[in-house]
């Protein structure tokens, strides 16, 4: 197909866009942090015994009326007569009374409420463990790509991966979307996609590099631009298909996995963007720098 877009020529613009978005996310993380869900912070668990069949959505509506936004509530008990409600707030006795009153007026006098302070140590452990695992995985990726390609490709790919993960985390902080255990899975998925997407483009750059052996900036620029053009249809089609899948989950998947789908959606978009506009651009700048240095060395040697 006939595109004639100069990706490399505008690389500073693209890197600026990424820097601004990441910077925004970083500042937000610094000043307002993440909106952590019940999986990560202490809170209260309220067991509401309703004692008769009830509709979960209806019960959730009662909690929403009391000001708990999209409450984490589940049915439980041998006859599903319990409603388990967890919140990341520490509820005062007044608040608990309020809940009891509300449910009594709706479901009758048989309602019994029992509350407990909850500290989810496993959730926090998991988040820490996920972070460490991703960092070690990055080292693994760097080693393999260095072996098969070269270290500049490896580090650029890992920078793009970190870019994508940070972008999504930053956006979740900026808009204060709730972060729960499944968010970790979404970020891991994004990391996997990002690497896969970047390597395919790098593979083409490497192939054309062997073929063209660019000596000047113009030649190097052309090689990278050509490679990006040659893989552009693939990049667009692949990201279109996965974004379709994430978008249907986001639109039709229901309330409880909306944020999960949203994280995937943002991450997949970022993964595609960063392969073309971040990873490849970092690589080309770095490569050119190295070529010039090598030349200078050769000249001084003469």
């Amino acid at each position: 197909m006939n595109f004639n877009l100069d990706f490399v020529g505008r690389r500073k613009l693209f890197l600026m866009i990424s820097a601004v978005l990441l910077g925004l996310g970083f500042l937000s993380l610094l000043f307002q942090g993440l909106n952590l869900g019940v999986d990560f912070v202490s809170g209260t668990r309220v067991d509401i015994k309703i004692n008769k069949p009830y509709d979960l959505e209806e019960a959730k509506d009662q909690l929403e009326e009391l000001g708990y936004q999209s409450p984490d509530a589940r049915k439980a008990g041998p006859k599903n007569e319990y409603l388990l409600f967890r919140t990341s707030q520490v509820l005062s006795p007044d608040k608990v009374n309020e809940i009891e009153k509300k449910f009594e007026t709706v479901y009758g006098d048989n309602v019994a409420v029992n509350e407990q302070k909850v500290d989810p140590i496993i959730g926090r452990e998991l988040a820490r463990n996920a972070l460490i695992s991703v960092l070690i995985a990055s080292v693994g990726i760097i080693l393999y790509v260095t072996l098969r390609f070269e270290y500049r490709f490896a580090l650029s790919a890992v920078l793009a991966l970190i870019h994508d993960a940070l972008f999504v985390i930053g956006m979740f902080s900026l808009f204060q979307w709730e972060v729960d255990l499944v968010f970790i899975a979404a970020v891991l998925t994004i990391v996997g996609y990002s690497v896969n997407d970047t390597i395919v483009i790098f593979d083409r750059i490497r192939e054309n590099l062997d073929f063209n052996k660019p000596k000047t900036w113009e030649e190097l620029k052309k090689t990278v631009n050509d490679s990006l053009h040659q893989t552009l249809v693939r990049s667009l089609n692949t990201s279109l298909t996965v974004v379709f899948a994430a978008l249907t989950l986001f639109l039709l998947g229901g309330e409880s996995i909306r944020y999960f789908a949203l994280a995937l959606l943002l991450g997949l978009a970022a993964g595609t963007y960063s392969s073309i506009f971040v990873a490849s651009q970092i690589w080309v700048s770095w490569k050119w720098n190295s070529i010039q240095k090598a030349k200078l060395k050769a000249q001084t040697a003469e």
Partner: protein
């Protein structure tokens, strides 16, 4: 060029076989997969920690107990447990898909204190705390009966004790039950002990795993237990499933619309991908959770990507003026390494996640590795076989069937 009917017959049989297997056994396979706590709910137990003499229930003790419980749940083969510390002295455990609740209670609540005692069975000489972490193994004793071997951290201390009691018994207890009372023939220098006790291989394995998981620092009393609904709720699960189906249909339409005949092949390989991954989950006893589904989606993405990379390459070769068979040959050959490198890089990342990760990170990694391997088999191998059959049949003669316009084809 003559149309080769033989190849068309083989191709058709392959298509029928794939569709028939997926349609006939697919639902059954899907049903046999265990769903995680977040998808199907499970059962929960609330424990109260009871201090023993001279012991105080502190935050640290509770945390240690929770960690030990979490390691024990791995013994049960349950993934995604939810464990939380509540109030001053309570620990709540939520387990998914446990068929035998009594067995789960037994494994969880047992203190599992291993003690080596003096000949009269009264004085404790060494206990679980002296064991080397992860050193317990299922093995066989000299009579070839299933047994458990353990390693002591301090081999010197064990040698001293075995020297002192040489010729006498050194009974081994698990909690208050005597497992065996071996007579010490000679001092044991290497810090290794064999525990036999009329075990079956299964029991010995379980005991070894329990010892490795560590004993519970406190006694736990069960306050109550009951079944809980899934975090997602049945309604949301149904909605998500439906959304997934729509997503896949859109991908199918897109692939066929853009890539024509090869797109159809891609759709068939994606169906095989979905079926085989479910089959693998079922055979490997993978518990499917939301993170697992995320990995499944990523696998679909990578399978689609592999197909797209190959077809784009074939189209490219055709535009250079190559004949369809030779474009297929060089296109699939050239795209192979690209796909291989991309997949291996992701597998390395997944393998590291598996090795260093815990619970749901681990579950994600297992699903992802399965997904990548299956996607490689279907989107590369199966796709290539089917494409070759189609092209060799000489049925696909027009570039239009690959989505390549005649006007785009240059001179070679």
């Amino acid at each position: 060029m003559r149309v080769r009917k033989g190849k068309i017959v083989i191709f058709s049989l392959l298509v029928i076989a794939i569709l028939a297997t997926a349609a006939l056994t697919g639902p059954q396979v899907a049903k046999s997969i265990t769903l995680g706590l977040d998808l199907q709910g499970g059962f929960e137990v609330l424990y109260q920690a009871k201090a023993e003499k001279g012991q105080k229930i502190t935050r640290k003790v509770l945390n240690d107990t929770a960690q030990a419980l979490s390691r024990r749940i791995d013994v049960l083969g349950v993934t995604e447990p939810q464990i939380s510390v509540e109030g001053e002295d309570r620990i709540r455990v939520q387990l998914a898909g446990v068929k035998n609740q009594d067995k789960a209670r037994e494994v969880l609540g047992k203190p599992a204190k291993l003690t080596f005692r003096s000949p009269d069975g009264k004085k404790v000489l060494m206990d679980g705390a002296d064991l080397k972490q992860g050193g317990a193994k299922q093995d066989y004793d000299p009579n070839n009966q299933p047994a458990v071997t353990v390693q002591f951290k301090n081999a010197e201390k064990f040698r001293e004790l075995t020297r002192k009691y040489v010729g006498q018994q050194m009974p081994i207890y698990l909690d208050d039950q005597e497992l065996s009372a071996p007579v010490i023939q000679e001092p044991i220098p290497n810090g290794e002990a064999i525990i036999s006790g009329n075990f079956t291989v299964e029991e010995a394995k379980e005991l070894a795993e329990l010892l490795n998981a560590g004993s519970l620092p406190v006694d736990l009393k069960e306050i109550h237990s009951f079944a809980v609904d899934s975090a997602l709720g049945k309604e949301s699960l149904k909605m998500s499933m439906e959304a997934g189906v729509y997503g896949i249909i859109i991908i199918f339409i897109f692939m066929i619309g853009f890539y024509r005949m090869p797109g159809l092949v891609a759709v068939l390989t994606l169906i095989s991908y979905g079926y085989l991954v479910l089959l693998a989950f079922s055979l490997l006893n993978v518990t499917l959770t939301l993170p697992g589904i995320a990995a499944f989606i990523l696998g679909v993405g990578m399978a689609v990507d592999a197909n797209i990379i190959m077809y784009e390459r074939i189209k490219e070769e055709m535009r250079y003026g190559k004949s369809i068979p030779s474009a297929l040959r060089s296109g699939s050959r050239r795209s192979f390494l690209t796909i291989f490198d991309a997949n291996i890089t992701t597998i390395i990342a997944a393998a590291v996640l598996f090795y260093f990760g815990t619970s749901s990170v681990r579950g994600f990694a297992v699903s992802l590795i399965t997904g990548i391997v299956v996607s490689f088999l279907t989107a590369v191998a199966l796709s290539r076989i089917m494409m070759t059959l189609l092209v060799r049949s000489n049925l696909l003669r027009r570039p239009g069937w690959f989505g390549v316009k005649e006007s785009e084809i240059g001179e070679l």
